[in-house]
Assembly symmetry: C2
Homo-oligomer: 331 residues x 2
């Protein structure tokens, strides 16, 4: 591990993993944290409670289709939702740079308020800190979410079997492409996909047969699928032609020299579903506004312990985790 | 309210209150958040669960008697504890500046590990973000705590009555004085009081008769007592001669031009206790290492709706909340 923190350590790929394992797991390691899931399901007095935390440092604070406030609510709601939990309560903590305009904070707080209503959750405890000019970048927000997991929900990588299908809820890479395009001052015709997934996960869980879900955030689809491989010990084959990507997003990615498979979404999920339940789950997803573009994009294979992309030309190549790329402050 | 955020908005006094009420309560307001307590007690499936969140931005990161890591564990444990909850789980989120040394992160993570063991709690979910050089000040940590509140615990400002006594668990102002002295490069013979209060609150609650507790943090004893006044509608008389302050702390405060009543502690609490329980609670506190210096420092009066300090000269003066002072990044 290098001796100083680089931006790659925050990008959600292999360097982040090194940092998390080498420093934080090393110190705090316990069976729950070691699952390295985006949320922890713990028992409290006989109830299954889910906890998740995220600090939001996105830059710019406002972008096409969203802002740091919305992101801080949706992101935490989504982490709970893909863990099979119903979001109930949230905490919020604000680190504000001296000199920040109050009107900007108000706009962001109002955006959070709207997002909270949309997700049917609320902030019950909060904190505010101010640091000197130049010691933070306007505003960072932490939200921590608490959810309840229904008794019948059983999501675990250990249930994944050969033949299970990989379902993606919609087009990928919009959020990441929007952030990068805005930083590069490129005009774009599309918006961030940032949105809450709690409604969608709830209809999917009701349909049954869902074995594991993740929201496709830092590191993009390629990284998340690799994490599925790590957790399950199985391989995944993805059909490139089936992964939905908007043409204009693909175009911007080409200009920016980015592979859309590594760009973050903030309102998409990927699920591993048993083959017999696939049609039922897909139907349920298509009936929900957040899952209209849902599609089977691949399947689980016994061999490989890797993510294989089968291109439209029929060529197969291994797709690794995001590694060393400079994609800071996407969320 | 001024149009831009100043450091005073983060100091825990009246400006912080303006910001919280004017921006965040305005947007997120709900009955639980409106209590403006440092923790929220909510019901989840019939159980009373306590939630609290804090971002730690203390500068310097290491100080006599502690560091940001210890503080981030103790502070959150203490917020739960004074709310009558037993800390159970914690989340941690790290915002790291590019270029930060890994060895520094490791030292801080190890310090958190030791503090977690001491408090008998654990981190079950975590997050790491990296921002560019110059966009944060080395490291900010958010911790959010989840605790369980026993059925028999009933802490509320509405129970406060005339004649109740004010008990302080020990000397005040050490933490704040250490931070300010280190920034001013003044040599000091004392250490921060930062320490966990969960053991102490647990023996106090067992003793019975405790109506309300708070840890004495940002804004110091004077501000916290004023918040008791706001919440209860009663007045408080404090005997200056009874408030324990180390002589060397008093000396440093004089050099720095600070009133120790407004300086933060990170391991002290103040409690309102019914008069008939006072001896019992004090005895229980004196038997606990964190409460050896506990003392009655004042009492609740019906009139006034203010905090009155009776000086050693017998003069009475109103002591307001911290207002406009520049005490940023104490925790």
């Amino acid at each position: 591990m290098s001796q100083r923190i680089t931006l790659a350590h925050g990008a959600g790929g292999t360097r982040t993993e090194e940092l998390v394992k080498g420093v934080f797991l090393e110190a705090f390691g316990n069976p729950i944290l070691e699952e390295l899931s985006d949320q922890a399901t713990v028992e409290m007095e006989g109830k299954r409670v889910s906890l998740t935390t995220d600090s939001y440092v996105v830059s710019p604070l406002f972008f096409r289709g969203g802002d740091i406030g919305k992101l801080s609510v949706y992101g935490t709601v989504n982490d709970l939702s893909v863990g099979g939990a119903t979001p109930v309560y949230m905490s919020a903590s604000f680190i504000i740079e001296e000199g920040t305009e109050l009107s900007l904070l108000k706009r962001i707080a109002e955006s959070m308020r709207d997002a909270l209503r949309e997700c049917n959750t609320r902030i019950v405890t909060a904190d505010t800190k101010v640091v000197e000019r130049g010691k933070a970048d306007t505003l960072f927000i932490n939200t921590t979410g608490v959810g309840l997991v229904d008794d019948h929900v059983e999501l675990s990588a250990t249930n994944i079997e050969e033949g299970d299908v990989v379902i993606l809820s919609g087009t990928v890479a919009e959020h990441g492409a929007v952030i990068l395009a805005e930083r590069a001052d490129i005009d774009i015709p599309f918006r961030s996909d940032c949105a809450p997934l709690n409604g969608l996960t709830s209809v999917m869980l009701r349909a049954g047969g869902v074995k594991l879900m993740r929201d496709v955030t830092r590191g993009g689809l390629a990284t998340i699928l690799n994490e599925f491989v790590d957790a399950s010990g199985k391989g995944i084959i993805i059909e490139e032609g089936l992964v939905p990507i908007r043409e204009d997003v693909r175009g911007v990615c080409e200009i920016l020299g980015m592979d859309p498979l590594y760009l973050a979404c903030e309102g998409r999920l990927v699920a591993i579903v048993s083959p017999e339940a696939a049609d039922r789950v897909l139907h349920a997803m298509h009936c929900h506004p957040m899952g209209r573009g849902a599609a089977v994009v691949g399947r689980i294979v016994a061999q490989g312990r890797a993510v294989i992309l089968r291109t439209t030309m029929g060529v197969e190549r291994v797709v690794g985790k995001l590694s060393g790329e400079n994609l800071p402050r996407i969320c």
